[in-house]
């Protein structure tokens, strides 16, 4: 790892790649990201290719779980051991562990930040239950890692090719009714997040939701990542809430 002279981008070397599923790879890098918390993100830059935001899979050492969906993520996941990836961050506000019983929910590649969060909670001796949902078995990831860390893992797929057939929210509801968590943490598609918000409202559970948005400056200046105002209103967030700066994690209802 090399600290650049202007303190902006840190150049990391790729140590190891772990294929999580057909499109998703965890990139383990050769240094630590200081002062990071689960749910925060970094901007990863490849010169001549571009720069995109990715949540942290781990901070010590730094690892990013990246789904190859566009030119930048495809180029990054095509790197080989010893290649350099430039990182700026950690950026934004992450999750804050609340209570002792944690329910983690990941939709698709939204599972990416959850093993870091699970690891932090399990290190405290807390209980962690994880519900992962995906379209199909080939879209699932991190099941083995979460299990190995000591989390209970429930899995759903839309097509029933793995785990329970159906939406992850159904399993979440069952889990809440069986053993009410102190807080729910989720990352995934906005529709899933809003469904979880409704469930948590109904069951009076504090909830922390990690949103995805088009991120350009990553500094809260350009306005590109503004969360839709109707969502802000539903969630009780101020209008003009910026995913890159105020989030990506919205910590909601912590007082209830």
């Amino acid at each position: 790892m090399t600290q650049c002279n202007h303190g902006l981008m840190q150049a990391f070397k790729l140590v190891k790649k772990v294929q999580e599923n057909e499109k998703t790879t965890t990139m383990w890098l050769d240094g630590n990201l200081e002062n990071a918390t689960p749910g925060q993100y970094v901007m990863a830059w490849l010169p001549d290719v571009g720069e995109k935001p990715f949540s942290l899979h781990s901070a010590t050492p730094l690892a990013l779980t990246i789904c190859a969906v566009g030119p930048v993520s495809r180029a990054i996941t095509a790197l080989n051991s010893g290649d350099t990836l430039w990182i700026r961050g950690p950026l934004g506000k992450g999750f804050s562990l609340t209570g002792k019983k944690h329910l983690l929910v990941g939709g698709g590649y939204g599972a990416a930040p959850l093993s870091y969060l699970a690891d932090e909670a399990l290190k405290r001796g807390d209980q962690v239950v994880t519900c992962l949902g995906a379209a199909s078995a080939k879209d699932l990831m991190l099941i083995d890692e979460l299990t190995r860390l000591g989390a209970t893992v429930h899995v759903t797929t839309d097509d029933g090719s793995f785990g329970t057939q159906g939406l992850v929210t159904a399993v979440v509801l069952e889990q809440i009714e069986t053993d009410k968590p102190d807080c729910l943490y989720a990352c995934g598609p906005t529709g899933m997040l809003m469904a979880l918000w409704d469930i948590c409202q109904a069951h009076k559970i504090p909830v922390q939701l990690s949103f995805e948005a088009l991120t350009r400056c990553g500094l809260g200046l350009c306005g590109a990542c503004e969360l839709d105002e109707t969502l802000c209103a539903r969630l009780g967030l101020p209008s003009g809430w910026l995913v890159c700066h105020d989030g990506p994690v919205a910590r909601l209802n912590l007082q209830n």
Partner: protein
């Protein structure tokens, strides 16, 4: 309590702070949020003739001297901007916060049309951005480069609209005073100074410029001395009010800018630390400074460095 209110071209502001163009001026929601956080006036993101995506990432970075950006005038085009401005104006009115609308155009002859379209939203002021340093690859040399081109743009906009106009100037010229006089002679009601300062960062390990656009505009603390000098110079040669912008992140900074001659104080990159709440912080610090130094109102500080300089001659 020191009085922070300002009468700016007959427009009443609760305080001298202005959300600078290019920062969070993208939607009614973000502009309303800045208003609720205590800004005196907001400036919308510059709108041009048609929609622009802007440059690809990396578009902005925070470095130890402040921020460098090359967003590239991302905007929906003036026709799509119009409903955004109308809604913003509606939301800001009950808060007592005026709306300044920033415009730009690729060609001289387009400025009048963009101004006419934007004027339909009845903003309190149109700010004419002739000095963005990040679009030269698309549009050529900025109009702010010479007194002649700056004056021609001002004339186009002045002919097109009755709304007060402020022309936003670049600092990287050797004849700023001449340019300021030229735009005022063509009917500019105010001057905004300064735009960002052209610069670049290179990552030595990558052996590449960091910004995708190669070069960008510097803002934040590193350009405050450049902005202070520009406002100081302009305020000596023209009588119109100046929106002093560049590197203001504290109440003391704001006081310095007012002492240099600014009527209003633009704030942009300071939002990088703490978001729109920075407006409340700066106002509180400005109040505290004025109380401790015995200034009753902003007028008693305005241009003070000129008066002191004259006293000693």
């Amino acid at each position: 309590m020191a009085n922070l209110t300002v009468d700016f071209l007959g427009i009443k502001l609760n305080n001298p702070l202005v959300l600078a163009s290019g920062v969070l001026g993208t939607s009614p929601a973000v502009m309303e949020r800045c208003a609720r956080e205590g800004v005196g006036a907001v400036t919308s993101k510059s709108a041009g003739t048609e929609a622009r995506d802007g440059h690809a990432n990396p578009v902005a970075l925070a470095w130890q001297g402040g921020v460098i950006n090359a967003i590239g005038l991302t905007n929906p085009g003036c026709h799509a901007e119009l409903p955004i401005l109308i809604e913003t104006k509606k939301r800001l009115k009950p808060l007592g916060v005026p709306l300044f609308a920033s415009i730009f155009a690729p060609r001289l002859e387009d400025f009048g049309e963009v101004a006419r379209v934007i004027a339909e939203a009845e903003p309190d002021l149109i700010e004419v951005n002739i000095s963005c340093p990040n679009v030269a690859s698309d549009f050529g040399t900025p109009f702010s480069a010479t007194a002649k081109s700056a004056a021609e743009v001002t004339r186009e906009v002045r002919r097109a609209v009755k709304i007060p106009i402020s022309v936003k100037l670049a600092p990287n010229v050797y004849n700023l005073g001449e340019i300021a006089r030229a735009v005022v002679a063509e009917g500019a009601d105010a001057i905004t100074a300064i735009n960002t300062v052209p610069g670049m960062l290179i990552d030595a390990y990558a052996a590449r410029p960091v910004l995708k656009n190669t070069t960008g505009g510097l803002s934040g603390p590193t350009i405050k001395p450049v902005a202070l000098r520009a406002v100081w110079e302009i305020s000596q040669v023209v009588d119109v009010p100046i929106i002093g912008t560049g590197g203001i992140s504290s109440g003391i900074d704001a006081a310095e800018m007012i002492m240099a001659g600014a009527a209003l104080v633009g704030v942009g990159s300071a939002l990088v630390n703490g978001g729109p709440a920075v407006f409340g912080k700066i106002n509180t610090e400005l109040q505290e400074f004025m109380r401790s130094q015995g200034y009753q109102d902003l007028e008693s500080m305005r241009g003070l460095v000129h008066r002191r300089a004259n006293d000693t001659v």
